[in-house]
Point group: C2
Chain length 125, copies 2
């Protein structure tokens, strides 16, 4: 994913992306509005603005039917792995293992997390 795509997804916009990622198919504004209006307390106009901005920046595709249907142009995995790499670059001087070390040394991991990780790296072997 290019820097000028994901880097520009803001916090509010991300809420819209999350919704679209959950949906199996493209959604009309109505469906998006229904969910975000309650969960986020946003006005319809706000939601429309966020969608428009996401379309402009190429993070969401629109497909013309009766009304427009919207779907993500990038997958959640693409985005999250981009965001992770971005964090590593900006904060951990490019060292991924420093990120994980930081997690391990700062009660950032639950017991289950640690168990999962142990498995993960056992299997790798």
């Amino acid at each position: 994913m290019s820097d000028n795509l994901a880097s520009k997804i803001t916090d509010s916009e991300l809420e819209v992306m999350k919704l679209l990622w959950c949906a199996k198919d493209a959604l009309p504004v109505t469906a998006i509005r229904e969910q975000l209006q309650e969960s986020k307390g946003w006005e319809p106009a706000t939601i429309k603005t966020l969608i428009s901005r996401l379309v402009s920046k190429g993070a969401v595709l629109q497909e013309k039917r009766n009304v427009y249907y919207y779907s993500p142009a990038i997958t959640e995995k693409e985005y999250s792995s981009w965001a992770t790499k971005d964090l590593i670059t900006r904060i951990f001087n490019g060292k991924a293992s420093d990120l994980i070390a930081s997690l391990v040394n700062s009660d950032g991991l639950s017991q289950e997390d640690i168990a999962e990780l142990r498995d993960m790296f056992k299997v790798e072997e």
Copy 2:
């Protein structure tokens, strides 16, 4: 670290923080300026603004001597572990292991990283 501290350190401000974290002692503006002016191409005025904003938001302390000397009010570890948790909350729905899984599955880790991690979780045992 409280949310309203670290969350507000912006990208440009972070460059100043990094410099202060590297320094063993508090630094006067002169020293900060010398390093950032060249590496970042910032005007002295820009650097002063960033320092002021960091002081206002409590991320940097100033100590009056002849001129002010500036030092970080939060450690790099505090900040980076806050930033990591923030990423996990915002993007990985609070699951730290999802972050690591994403790293593992997206060529985000070098061979050395993986070796280090294997050690990390071997030792944990």
